[in-house]
């Protein structure tokens, strides 16, 4: 019953911004730049009998999630929340984000990723693309984005997606887990986050609107169509390639694993807003916090969990992805992720007032 747990990650240069960490970061940056902006991986993929460089990338990505997930499972085997969550992201990655799209292509269907939805994947609400898909795919995209995502987020918070399903979160919480504590904790980072994440969401919404407008009246307004095309291209380069890929993963060893999710992901922004209005929260057990700071240190979103814990405040933060590591590392079991019912919230409010 000896638990590996957190280990001593501040002692190692790989996990504490040492030379090796910088080297890995540089390699990741180089990898993503080559992947997105050159065709150097195409012959490599061909040699390996993989259809394209993207298939090669998908294979590497899935392997990273599965291998990292294996370590994650070993590290937190005693915590069933972590075990179930990790098994879930590993399965989603291996099936919905890897095998199924390959299989769809094999049976002459479009390559479709059921685990990604608008506004993370803007194409899935781009009428020019969407309406050429088979009907079930169209329904999945529309109902998924506008019903499934918000409803689940109201009941369970954004974690159902960000920590249980999403591939970005999946990579962060498996392969990237040893770097989670490197997330920026400063007030400056928080101020930046508030502006940056909603800006990207704004860009995504505007682009979607443009795509619909251009679909409807692009024929008679060619400038609109060409502007939308340019916008789409630059959004793709800036957001999907640079922010999600190059910076998002490249900065893992230096700035933690959720740079993309925390500062830029439009899906996270939207889910965060829903989360604030929903049932998910982190419940703080009154008067039991010893202010050690492990929760804040190991929060990959840079939330100062301790400030809530030491002042007996249960809380819901829009950015919280519900990974549950704060509760795991707390040596006094002060924190608990919960989906509280409305009545329970009311009851607690009454108790606070009475107190």
């Amino acid at each position: 019953m000896i638990r590996p747990g957190l280990g001593d990650r501040l002692a190692h240069d790989v996990t504490n911004r040492g030379v090796t960490a910088w080297l890995i970061s540089a390699l990741l940056f180089a990898f993503y730049i080559v992947l997105y902006f050159t065709e150097w991986f195409t012959p490599v993929a061909a040699t390996l009998h993989l259809g394209s460089k993207w298939a090669l990338y998908g294979t590497l990505y899935t392997l990273a999630v599965l291998i990292g997930g294996g370590f994650m499972l070993r590290r937190y085997a005693h915590n069933r929340y972590q075990v179930l969550r990790t098994v879930c992201v590993m399965c989603v990655q291996a099936l919905f984000a890897y095998s199924l799209p390959q299989f769809l292509m094999f049976i002459q269907q479009p390559e479709f990723y059921f685990s990604y939805l608008w506004p993370l994947k803007l194409d899935y609400l781009n009428p020019n693309y969407l309406f050429h898909l088979p009907l079930p795919f169209i329904l999945w995209s529309i109902l998924g984005s506008f019903l499934l995502v918000p409803i689940l987020a109201i009941f369970f918070g954004k974690r159902w997606y960000c920590s249980w399903v999403c591939g970005c979160g999946g990579l962060a919480n498996t392969f990237g887990e040893p770097w989670r504590h490197l997330s920026a904790k400063s007030t400056k980072a928080w101020r930046f986050e508030r502006v940056s994440i909603y800006s990207v969401l704004g860009l995504a919404i505007v682009l979607t609107a443009l795509m619909f407008a251009s679909y409807a009246v692009g024929g008679v307004h060619p400038q609109l169509a060409s502007f939308t095309g340019e916008y789409q291209k630059w959004y793709g380069i800036l957001v999907a390639s640079v922010l999600a890929g190059v910076f998002g993963v490249g900065l893992y060893p230096l700035n933690g694993t959720r740079v993309w999710c925390r500062f830029f992901c439009p899906m996270a922004a939207l889910l965060g807003i829903v989360q604030k209005a929903g049932r998910y929260r982190i419940t703080v057990k009154d008067d039991m916090c010893i202010s050690c700071g492990l929760c804040s240190k190991y929060c990959e979103m840079g939330i100062d969990v301790r400030s809530y814990a030491q002042s007996n405040e249960s809380f819901t933060r829009a950015s919280c992805v519900g990974c549950g590591l704060c509760a795991e590392v707390c040596p006094r079991g002060v924190l608990r992720l919960e989906n509280v019912t409305h009545q329970a919230q009311q009851l607690q409010l009454v108790q606070i007032q009475r107190f």
């Binding site: 000896i2 001593d8 929340y81 008067d287 010893i290 700071g293 079991g333 608990r336 992720l337």
Partner: protein, 440 residues
């Protein structure tokens, strides 16, 4: 009004922030000889084990103190004069005050072993920031360490030195680990857990003498049973006592007993001088003198002392006792006080204990006169607030067992299964009724 606070631990800083919250115009000075900034003492071990940096131990961002206009002064206080209302610091500085709070905490209890006066290095405590530094210098992978003392800090130090790769022997004077809080079975579980972590645990044996080399470095300890343990690091954690020695020689010492004697308003014999936290000894009407030496009580007393200094009529009434800890991986919650005569029958005392087979988890609940009095829970998470409520409501044991799930605080999907505990309780109850001659 000028408020001076001696000690920047949890009691002192909580008091400072509370004064500021209630009086925006107060002048507040916090004096510490230990560190520039408040840190979480209970988390020292996580810094040692490289899970947190020293900076991470600070519960508040550094800017908070300037923003809250709390002056921080680094230095040791050498004199307290209640007549002129001044403090003198080493280096000759002096600080004037209208209200003074003494929150100097605890210091390690000193052992009485032969050869102790020869020791120059290798002996460490684990209470202060300076102790942490000392521990880091004595820890050497592969070398031998002995830790003496069977309490909470002792096991933390054992965990730290084990982590550092030392061969650790844990010497416990009592017949089992931490008898003031754990029963023999609970202790056996914890000791077994420690052994699985590679710790050599010896009970019922106390140190008689320390051996040193020519330079005064610790080389071995020998016990009263005549055994000798070589070691280059000797951890001593045989308890803490209020840090009040410095007050014995000052111009106007407050009344001292074990700690600084205070009334229910946390006021010392000096009137405008208050004390809170580990260093305070409460003299409350109808109760025996009480020194509370845990994080939670210090925080509570700090907040109350602030209000008392501001002139509020405070009557401190210590709530139901609770505490928490973690023994390597075993989490521990306790609420209430177990009757000393544990296991005794008569006067309606009953105690239910259940150990989960094959798991480092157990629960123990005591009832007296038909009302639960105390809980000891190991290896799972519980909300102590529910237990406090139930103790306050004088609920019977049966009722508490029925509603036990309401107090569970384990992670989602990871709740401890209460079925075996409840089944064991039924059997235990039938058995105890049969013994009492009540027909089933």
């Amino acid at each position: 009004m000028e408020y001076a606070i001696v000690g920047n631990g949890v009691a002192g800083i909580t008091a400072a922030l509370e004064v500021r919250k209630r009086d925006p115009r107060a002048g507040i000075t916090v004096i510490s000889g230990e560190t520039d900034y408040f840190f979480s003492r209970t988390a020292l071990m996580y810094s040692f084990m490289d899970r947190l940096t020293l900076r991470d131990l600070e519960p508040y961002e550094r800017g908070v103190f300037d923003a809250q206009r709390i002056r921080r002064v680094r230095g040791w206080v050498t004199d307290l004069d209640a007549q002129t209302r001044t403090l003198k610091l080493d280096g000759g500085r002096s600080i004037a005050w209208d209200r003074l709070l003494l929150a100097t905490g605890s210091r390690p209890r000193r052992p009485q072993w032969q050869g102790l006066d020869q020791v120059r290095s290798g002996l460490v405590n684990f209470v202060s920031m300076q102790d942490l530094e000392a521990c880091e210098t004595v820890a050497r992978p592969g070398a031998k360490a002995v830790v003496v003392g069977g309490g909470l800090i002792g096991i933390e130090l054992v965990e730290c030195l084990r982590w550092a790769g030392m061969e650790v022997t844990f010497l416990i004077r009592e017949p089992w680990y931490w008898p003031v809080a754990l029963n023999a079975a609970e202790s056996a579980m914890v000791i077994d857990h420690m052994r699985r972590h590679g710790v050599i645990v010896l009970t019922g044996e106390s140190v008689a003498a320390v051996e040193t080399d020519g330079q005064g470095a610790v080389t071995a300890v020998s016990t009263d049973a005549g055994r000798r343990f070589e070691c280059c690091a000797l951890g001593v954690s045989i308890g803490v006592e209020p840090a009040v020695d410095w007050l014995r020689g000052v111009s106007t010492p407050p009344r001292l007993n074990r700690g600084i004697v205070v009334d229910a308003g946390l006021r010392t014999s000096l009137g405008a001088v208050f004390a809170a936290g580990d260093c305070a000894e409460l003299e409350l009407p109808g109760r025996s003198p009480l020194v509370e030496q845990i994080w939670y009580s210090a925080k509570r007393q700090g907040a109350l002392a602030a209000r008392s200094m501001l002139g509020e009529p405070i009557q401190y009434d210590p709530p139901v006792f609770f505490n928490s800890s973690k023994f390597f991986e075993i989490e521990y919650t306790t609420v209430g006080r177990f009757p000393r005569e544990s296991g005794a029958s008569g006067d309606g005392l009953r105690e239910f204990y259940f150990r989960y087979p094959g798991k480092d988890a157990s629960l123990r609940i005591a009832e007296r006169g038909g009302a639960v009095e105390a809980f000891n829970l190991l290896g799972s998470r519980w909300d102590h607030n529910r237990f406090e409520e139930w103790i306050g409501q004088r609920r019977p044991l049966e009722d508490v067992i029925d509603r036990l799930h309401q107090a569970q605080f384990d992670v989602e999907f990871g709740r401890l299964d209460l079925t075996p505990a409840r089944a064991a309780f039924k059997l235990w109850r039938a058995e105890s009724l049969r013994h009492a001659g009540v027909p089933a």
